[in-house]
Symmetry: C2
Subunit: 448 residues, 2 copies
């Protein structure tokens, strides 16, 4: 019985046209990762629930997709056991690439050469309520180095951000902050215990404005005096060096805070000396939600397109501790492929070569013509040009329509006249121009 | 509390070394697919269970991984409902790429330009009992054209097989048969109704031998006379053309059988005329298990390595019928990446460039040296060479050990002497050779 086919809500099919564009983004990002010495890694789609549970907060636990145990799962269990998902599910789909990475590092620590530089581009799954721009299956592109406290790693990630977005043609600003500075601020205003509350509140500065942030800070138990002390910090202006200078005056009492300022000064110094051509802004309201960050944090904004951050990350000092390997510092960033895709569509940034999959199509005019075509096609393919022949000797109009709909830039026609003269008719589908080309020169189309 | 981390049985982590090799295989295959005009497609990891169930037989249904509905799945359901997986699971992980492809074609038929040539390289999941060489998550690499009955498509797939294995350096034999011929044989021996029984039995010829196949045929209800008629067919020898000729004499009474012979004659003719350099053998015992095949069938064997088939496929006339789009013929093949990997490891076929991820490592001898190094590294990276610097100014021995363990072929040393003379010391880690190279020429390492 025929069913009307559909896919689960929040998931997507990627058509060839979308895949060409997505592949272009992924390949660009991976190529940059590789030139910086990062090595590819893949982990299984399913992890044991014991690996995943408790790592993303209560909210995150609820968003895990759980996989029913295979076999006669329901037989032999009592009703209560069945009711408890933990008894019928031992595996879940990965929620991000960070926890599986930490799990991998701990599990394989004896085989790994540290510092371990890896990138990972794989889908993740979240049982979020689907809405515009939020999917239940989406790719993450993560790059991390673990086992080194050197700030050169931060500098390298900044250079990677610069390279990726330069290659994609997206103008960006990199916003940076440091968790140690945020702690220092909390300490300086007399509320070291409320560092997370302060962080959560000021993270919303851009979204809800200063007055609302102040209201939220009050709700979270900060007295007026503390809020008054905080305000000038949030309004610091000038160059990054100037901001750090002014900040140092305010939080000099906090050892941790001063360490954060020192880190940022060193990072910015390297960036300047190494001539990294990227707009970088110290943004003291940048906090980032994840609570495993302990040092520098990053967030990238597109300059000419209104969308959330398109890349982000930071330094973490104890990600692998949950799996039994403490004191292993790392730093990493993640590129948001879906948003980058939207920016590139919005600003029309995809290059022409991702607009088609086949470069040259041969018209099919019968067996003898096909046999000659196959020989020429082989040369085109060896030269790297995506080439095909219409599989049936259909009407010319139908074949040309196919080429048009597939957005194929060149069509080669070999009929009986062409066979006799050993010259093909080559049609440029963009301009409509037609040329007569020697059989042995048709493969030069590969280089156009 | 620290847990000892592990992954679900039957799944795998792919280390950087494995990823480099796997990526090499996948990229080679995809590159060939693209040069033949096939376009990339991706479908979601999860499909509705209604899409998957009933498509792979009862055995297949049991091997589907089912995903628990998200949210408060257990609340509000009675015990009986909970006990039935269909009530608590609406989604499953895809079992292969063929059914999702058929679903995609039917769902998007109005947007697709037919003939539709697509390739798809994605993981699939099966709740099989894990054992050596059999995993619960593995990649399939499928290439199909749908919406064309032309045998040129079969010829093109044969050429793709030739290209892929030539590029990978694996010597192969392509075994071919045709489901119409198998039907013709069944008809000729008076058992058209037992075509599937005959197919299943003779499919085992290579594995269990002729006598056992005969015994199985008897068990499946074939009389002695029919088995006697079948034997000479299974033992046909000579060239493919000779086999087809002899076969035609035996099954001339079967219209379908003769159609199969005609198809194979046309395909082999094209292959010869187009000079496709591949060993192709008509193997009348080749049947392939899947029952949606209706025409030519393919299977590829490695010549110098004992392993099952490393690629296979065939023509199907009604794959999309189950989803409501009948009469849409297609043909496709699938490459077995895990087995190809095993063959390439076994025969030592991976090229040297997949043995390392970083080509050039700079030794870290302090801040001033690092700043100079970063400038040279930028040039190397722009030239495409994977380059890194050891992030800490550690002892030289430790840094060289790191380079060794990472299998990095070139190490660049810039110390105070080198800074002064503006010449780097470049060490070839394979030969142990050291050279002094002008700063501005170090980036030439990218081209070695």
């Amino acid at each position: 019985m025929a069913q009307k086919p559909s896919i689960p809500k929040g998931t997507r099919d990627f058509s060839p046209a979308e895949m060409m564009r997505r592949t272009y983004i992924f390949e660009t990002i991976k190529r940059v990762f590789r030139t910086y010495g990062y090595a590819p890694l893949e982990t299984p789609s399913m992890e044991n629930l014991s690996t995943l549970l408790g790592k993303y907060g209560d909210e995150g636990d609820k968003l895990l997709f759980k996989i029913l145990n295979s076999g006669d799962y329901a037989a032999g269990l009592n009703d209560e056991q069945i009711r408890q998902a933990s008894k019928i599910c031992e595996k879940g789909l990965r929620y991000d690439l960070t926890v599986p990475f930490a799990r991998y590092v701990v599990q394989h620590q004896s085989e790994i050469t540290f510092p371990f530089k890896r990138y990972q581009v794989q889908p993740v799954w979240r049982a979020d309520r689907p809405q515009k721009g939020r999917y239940r299956e989406f790719y993450q592109c993560d790059v991390d180095v673990i086992g080194s406290r050197s700030l050169l790693n931060e500098v390298e990630l900044i250079e990677i951000v610069e390279r990726v977005f330069a290659l994609l043609g997206i103008g960006v600003t990199l916003k940076m902050n440091n968790r140690k500075i945020l702690y220092g601020i909390a300490e300086a205003i007399g509320h070291a215990d409320k560092m997370m509350d302060i962080t959560v509140a000021i993270d919303k500065l851009e979204k809800i404005g200063l007055d609302n942030v102040k209201a939220e800070l009050a709700e979270r138990g900060l007295d007026e005096e503390a809020i008054a002390k905080l305000q000038p910090i949030l309004e610091l202006s000038g160059t990054n060096a100037e901001k750090l200078q002014k900040l140092a005056d305010v939080i000099s009492c906090s050892e941790t805070g001063m360490k954060g300022i020192e880190e940022m000064t060193e990072i910015f110094g390297y960036v300047e000396d190494a001539d990294i051509n990227l707009r970088i802004e110290l943004d003291l309201s940048l906090a980032r939600g994840l609570n495993y960050y302990t040092g520098a944090i990053f967030e990238v904004k597109a300059e000419d397109f209104a969308i959330g951050s398109i890349c982000g990350g930071g330094r973490y000092d104890d990600l692998t501790g949950i799996f039994g390997l403490p004191n292993t510092s790392g730093v990493g960033i993640s590129f948001g492929a879906d948003r980058i895709y939207d920016v590139m569509v919005g600003l029309d940034l995809f290059p022409e070569e991702v607009d088609f999959t086949t470069k040259v199509m041969f018209v099919n005019l019968g067996k003898e013509e096909v046999l000659e075509s196959l020989k020429i096609m082989r040369k085109l393919r060896l030269a790297g040009a995506a080439t095909e022949i219409y599989p049936e000797p259909a009407k010319m109009k139908k074949q040309m329509e196919y080429a048009n709909r597939r957005n194929i830039p060149y069509v080669v026609i070999i009929g009986s006249n062409e066979l006799q003269e050993r010259k093909a008719t080559v049609k440029n589908m963009r301009t409509g121009e037609q040329m007569s080309v020697d059989f042995c020169e048709v493969s030069d189309l590969a280089y156009l």
